[in-house]
Symmetry: D2
């Protein structure tokens, strides 16, 4: 930690501060400049209240040198984390994970049909929303428990492991057979939910919040990991920007940057990132090219709504093509 | 609702779409232009799936005319909502509410001392954090149940009604004697929490999320109100922008704009909005000048940490002066 | 300047770097910690290329301690700058400046009529756009030279000093009798224009860019001042955020923060900040309450377009009331 | 254009408005709903002042149906624009353009050496900054005219066409032999500069502003094209977001989205987008995978500053590898 003292701070004030810091078991090195004095704090700086220190009249600014995340920090764990699902499917460490399925589970036939199609195209995890976070209380909130039942049936039929979103701590029991529990963007800083998930050993896919930084995403991963659950998968799903032609903006550079900062796997969700079906393919290829550990893509088969090509969902046929081209890109960038 | 059809849409496609809409009990008026055809949809448009409609190949764009919030919409409830606390204190409708107290409840002596000082300065609600949402799992998380106990004692001594933040649905029982339950910025879209609070009759202060729009804030209020609880107070507490000199950016125009859109009271929190003690006074005066229904200000008395002037807290003496000047501004703008 | 060296940097590398720094006349103090080594650089650090230093493999991060703005920095010039116009009108240092007038100059009668009305209401500077920056090349671009002529006539009739926006260095001659030259938000980082204006002694009103930080605003002021022109007035006119109900978001806390950082006067433009006439009054009162040095407000009188109340313009009657209430607020907050 | 009238608007008011619209040669279709009346305006709507219409008391909102950009709109020009340089090099329409070179031109030897290396790696345009837009007036502003001279020498030696940034209309003469004139992000809305460039036939590379939308980028392209110069290349170079680990956020979905909206070529600049050398490779591969028409990459060879790996520049060796892998990705995604 580095503290910069304002010009005009007296010797006495400086010594008072240094003593206060030393009493907290911190060593202090002083660099005196013309305009500022810089204190280099080393040792047990974790006990220092940064906000308190920064708010002192004599202090110009404080710089925290150590990153606040520890358990997910690659510095302390250089090797990639590999999350292994119950059926042996691996996520991270070189495997490329293909998650696909409908936004919402709707009917038995729908989920079975989509599951079989995406499996045939190479997907190895089935996604499906049972509990849906909706901005409006008047919008469809998902089939809930019934939706989870339908997912289990699709798992039984196809053998695909499942991922589905949790919104309420009290629903945890219902997710016992869901292979990966998803924490949605709006709950990324629902710390009580994160803490509870940290007490399980369930694989967790943690989505980045709409306006959250990578550091905040990693701190939320840290909440889960500090509880003892190290099976965390990060997910970049687009952030809010001023752009209106796309729903969100896929932060593609987050993939290599998160890999640099952390040993956790990083999955990209191009469907939510763009919100537009025709952008899913190029964004998926970009994610594969820049080193993502997998893709989560919405696929929907809807013969009843023939008019509809799906706001952000691919048809199974489109998914076939995207999955095949993704594999070609992965081969091209493999070193 | 208005749907714009792309240039080149055939008569047959247009009629297919119009029939599909009419089957859903919607009337359709057609305006044919050179470049586009515009369909004006009237009647029972709530059943129309906007995303589905917008995703049709033939549809250029869809505009939803009605606002999605109903219960908090001033159009349907022209009169200001007045939230009345158990001791008769009124919020909204012309009363100006002064909420003050420490960020975190720390000790018995601290909370009693601060409560007495802010009451003497004119505050009529005491704030104090017991459960604290912290970005890092390694930071102080609040005194929790013990903090609520200390707040109750301060209420007994001073008679001030209480406000404190809830983070977990399962803690609701503990908040029975807390007069206003606060939903923090990070939980603004924790819809499960909002729904549960909608089943109570507790006054709720709902803080705007760091990167949320006013419409999203009102939709979250709608979650609470659609459950039956109309005692909702909105709180502007600063939004995230690119600015780094201040922690957040107080959106002062949200006060008159929210008053225009909704009948709910609007409180401003200048302490969290700026994150810097010296900005609290000017921001508080600005809020009073532009029609806010009250102010929530952090006040802290800390003789032990004499070095510290508090990152964003005022001293009781500073609060005295701010409260007095706020009253002068209120008098100046009263018509 | 502070440089943090990565864990694992060898003694030899560290000494190589220290020698390189010392060769550039910088003194280096070393603080060795468990995880990091911190170098405190003092002396002639201005010659150090920060980006170069930060990009070294061994360097974790660099923190620049000194602010990059010098001439507009309050640290080196504690007293408020007062900009004095040709007719003696003062801006800054306790005077409150009321700038008002139409967005665009349209006709002789319009500008004379508005000028007389705003003067009667207490305005002491007349605004009027002659050259208009429009997002679309197909939109009205202003009356240009003819608009400036009409402004001169209004100045002759009313005696009000003028402010108008420049968009092109080559137009400078035309602005000789314009008392304050405005640099618009889109040109805040048109450095060539700023440099040219720095060679004049004209008072310059510099608007903050739509997505620029206060530091960037001050660096742009520095461009003008480093050329020798210290007559710079800062203008907060709303920043871009995710909010859509208002055109921009007025950053009210920028007023006290800029006053803290700089000695330059700070004017608020509530008309462009909100983009909605009914929000101009509350935002103007807020600006007056929080210490702004003046207000720039759009006023328009349009008997021809009787249907129109002006997207963001006040009528002269509305301006009368706002100006009177602003004076009451100023009296209330005067200490 | 669609105008929504507020609930409670009288028949008389509605007719008054309809007549006013018809007098401007616009046809009006009326859709009456329970809560709103919707007017569909067709015909010559370009003359309607949208802001004026939207500001009417009776008008709830206005929706502009047509896109405001015409000349760059793919709807009216379905085929890709191909920009052809003096030496025959093509940009757009299936060619992949590799622009590379140093951020700033420094010396004769530097620019020749880098030019020869990037040419050998497959680059077909040489970049080099002569006039540098710097946030601080105290930072290096480029070699200016001398820098352009050095670029010409490199062109003579290698045969590579040149791209360099213009900052001032009055410098246009100096750019006669620069094959592509770059308009930087900070000048994207310097409309006077754009208009002047529209009067030439020079190929223009227009960079997206830091906080500008795609629509604003296209409107700025429209400024150039409406002057008669259709040789415009769009450049995505990262936008400002809340993320701090990267300098900017590369908006990768802008590539397919801009291709959908416009027929102009789209180049990606991964160097400025991320600001970090190690992110350039993954971002470049992502851009190639998602359909960009080319890449502009900073390459620097600096034997003197051996300590430095360049904040965002690749070494010639690194560029060799990136260029080769980009070609593999292009082959993988070719259909």
């Amino acid at each position: 930690m580095v503290a910069v003292l304002k010009h005009g701070t007296t010797k006495e004030q400086t010594e008072l501060l240094i003593n206060w810091l030393k009493n907290q078991n911190v060593d202090v090195n002083v660099s005196e400049g013309h305009e500022y004095t810089v204190l280099g704090l080393v040792g047990n700086t974790r006990n220092i209240d940064v906000d308190l220190l920064a708010s002192l009249d004599m202090v110009e600014s404080v710089k925290v040198v150590s990153e606040p995340f520890k358990k997910c920090n690659r510095k302390f764990h250089p090797d990639d984390t590999v999350v292994t699902l119950a059926n042996g499917t691996q996520i991270g460490g070189g495997s490329f994970c293909m998650i696909a399925g409908p936004c919402s589970v709707e009917t038995h036939d729908q989920i079975i049909l989509v599951a079989e199609r995406v499996k045939a195209a190479g997907a190895n995890v089935l996604r499906g929303g049972a509990f849906k976070p909706r901005t409006s209380p008047y919008d469809f909130q998902g089939l809930k428990a019934e939706g989870l039942e339908l997912l289990m049936e699709a798992k039984k039929v196809t053998g695909l492991p499942l991922i589905s979103e949790i919104m309420n701590i009290n629903h945890l029991d219902m997710f016992e057979d869901v292979d990966i529990i998803q924490v949605g963007a709006r709950n990324m800083q629902n710390f009580e939910l994160l803490k509870e998930l940290g007490r399980t050993h369930h694989p967790i896919l943690l989505k980045r919040g709409l306006a959250n930084t990578m550091k905040e995403l990693l701190m939320s991963a840290e909440y889960i990991m500090s509880g003892g659950n190290e099976n965390v998968i990060l997910c970049e799903r687009g952030i809010r920007t001023f752009e209106t032609y796309t729903r969100n903006t896929l932060d593609i550079s987050a993939v290599p940057m998160l890999h640099d900062l952390s040993h956790l796997p990083v999955i990209v969700d191009p469907s939510h990132a763009s919100g537009i079906a025709k952008l899913v393919r190029p964004c998926a290829l970009a994610a594969a090219a820049c080193g993502a550990d997998g893709l989560m893509i919405e696929v929907h088969n809807d013969p009843i709504h023939a008019l509809c090509d799906g706001a952000q969902s691919l048809t199974p046929d489109q998914y076939d093509e995207v999955a095949a081209t993704v594999r070609k890109v992965l081969a091209a960038v493999a070193q």
